[in-house]
Every structure is written in structure tokens, then in C-alpha cells.
Symmetry: C2
Subunit: 185 residues, 2 copies
Amino acid sequence: MPRTLRADAARNRDRLLAAARELFAEQGVDAPLEEVARRAGVSIGTLYNHFPNRGALLDQVLPERLAELDVLAAAALVDADPWHGFTAFLDGMFAMQARDRAVNEAVTRNPVGAVGVAAECGRAGGVVESIVARARGAGVLRADFGPADLATLIWAMSTVITMSAGDDAVWRRHLGFVLDGLRVR
Amino acid sequence: MPRTLRADAARNRDRLLAAARELFAEQGVDAPLEEVARRAGVSIGTLYNHFPNRGALLDQVLPERLAELDVLAAAALVDADPWHGFTAFLDGMFAMQARDRAVNEAVTRNPVGAVGVAAECGRAGGVVESIVARARGAGVLRADFGPADLATLIWAMSTVITMSAGDDAVWRRHLGFVLDGLRVR
DNA sequence: TAGCAACTTGAGGTCCCCCTCAGGTTCGCG
DNA sequence: CGCGAACCTGAGGGGGACCTCAAGTTGCTA
């Protein structure tokens, strides 16, 4: 096992990651690995040289995206308006799920707050709980809304996002209805 | 092509339908047909003798269940309280989706109101629109809620139902939140 | 620039599901 | 009964995706 990658190997690795990012975003985490190799212009054997299984590939690709959630979550926590912070976080997260089907599936199968596909996911979990708690504490979010309810909301939205096939207006409209039910007047 | 089925053939057909009902309910519309044959105690060839493809099997099994929706819908329309009629219909439909995964998938892929897996589904569609219109007309359902929004709600609930794996309390709780957002106070 | 380790290749084994059809079995009529 | 039509069987061909590995190629170092 060499300390550093040979030049061609490094290039192939990068291409594979780029192809994986693309295809997973389009088709989800179950996209055929042979298609990833094809798009990378590399043989299937090379793919398995670099990544022993699909999980290894996802472990490289998903955290990149999930880290973006951290930014969203941090912004939500310091939002002057706790309700706006809460809704802006949700909107941002769902928008990302709409952009990247792999993220949509990952977040759904493994709701924020539980142990994650990646450690990053778990770290975000704590922050997310704080966002919910802050909105609840400010009296703008119904008092009985807990982390489990957020997970359920994510389940609900994931299919709406998938089925509305690129039309963000559809899931935003539905989210609006739900938030009306969650808000305290 | 005989006018009437031979006794053993009729028996096998019944067994196949029973097995299909069971397995589709458990595993959804993509359940392996070889497993259906196995449960029916019949060879895979016999299954294809009776039903040329998966669709033919579903066409026999799904309408049975979807017809139950008609009963629900009819009851909703004559409910003294339009809001209760609306919510009771939804609760009943989602409860059925929770009981039968094939129904869950069928209703989701092909939302009530559009052309259906079966003609029965289409017939129910009109009634469902009436239920929505009645609740809206009575001023208890928000005025901007249309049939498309119902389809979206069905998408949303289908995953919640699947993920909550038999615990009806989970999806009922979420539905409660959403209905709070849909109701006019 | 020679030579070896590092890397790539793609045919092919495995698995799971689809569906078919030639040959054997059973029903039920006459 | 006995015979023909109706029916059943399950091995097997086809396809898609997974993953492996022996043989060939290429980058890099000395």
C-alpha cells in the first residue's frame, strides 16, 4: 500500500468521485456502479480498486453535501427570529434534497438526529435539536413538537420532493400547509 | 379456451390470488412472483398459465381493496359534519394503506383523481373531489386546497406510513399536524 | 532507460428475478 | 373405463447488477 497515489490513479479516483456525485444525485444511492465507471471513462475493475463497495463511495460523496447542512443549521440558530430560523433551515434542507436524490434518500433512511451515514450527520443532529428547541421555547412552534416529529416530517417531504420531479413549488406549497399546522398563533 | 375452468385449475387460481393478496400486502407490488407461486403451493409455470404477467394479477387483487375506498368515500359525503367527513375519509384511506403495502404504492403512484390502476379507482376519484369541495364549501377547509394538494398529501403520507412500520400512532400524529394546517378556524 | 511496483482491464462467476415451453400428469366426458 | 383436452411442471434462457482476479499496461524511480 503506497503512501501516495500514482498520477493516473489519482486522476481516475477524482473522475470516479465526480461521476458518482453526478449519478447519485440524479438516480439516488442505488444507481448502478457500472454506470458510474462508464461516466468516469474507467473500467468497473478500477472502480472497485479505489472503492471496495458502494458504501465506500457514498462515504466520500455524501458528507460533502451533508456538511452544507451544518452551514444551514448554524445560520438558523443565530437567526433573530426563531420561527424564521426554523423554517429557513427546513426550506434549505429540502431544497438540497430536491437537488440531490442521494441526499434525499440518505436523510430519509437515516433521519437527522440519529446516528448518521457519516459522523457529520450526527454532529448536525445536535444542532437541529437546538433549532427545534429554540423555536419551541420562543412559543412559536407547538410545544408538543419533538425531534421524532421532525424525522416524520422529513419522511413525508422526501416523497413529495421525489414525486414533484424538479418543481419546487409543489413541495414548498405542501410544506407551507404543514408549517401552518405547526406554528403557534 | 374452455368456457369453464377445470376443478383443479379453479382451485389453483384461488390459491394464487390468496397468495398474491398476502404477499403484495406485505411486500408491495414488486414482490417476486416466484414467491407468490411458492406460497400458493404451485409452480411458477402455473402462475403464468393463469396470469400472463404481474399486471394481470394486480388487476384482480387491487380493485378488491380499492373498492373499499368507495364505501369510505360514500360515507364521508353524507357525514353531517363536512370536516369530520373529510378527515374520516383520509384516516380510513391511510389506515388501509398501512394495512396493505400494495394499496399504499398503487394509490401513491397513481393519486386518487387521475386515471387509475383500475377503473374503480377513477370512479372513486370523482367522489373524492366532492368530499374536498364540500369541506371547502362549508368553510372548514382552506379555500385554496385543491385536488392536486390532496395528491401531494397522499405522497407525503405514503412514506410516513411505510417508515412507521405498523405503528399507526406515528402517521396519525403527523396527519393531525397537517390537518391543523388545512383547517379553517 | 530499464525494470518493477502500481495500476487497469474486462471477461466471467454469482445472484435474483423475469418469463417460456416441451414434456408429463390429471380431469372429466362419453 | 379410456382417451383427449386441459392443466401442471421446472429446467433453462435472458437480463441486469454485483464483484473478482489473472493477465496486460503504465508511471516512476534509480
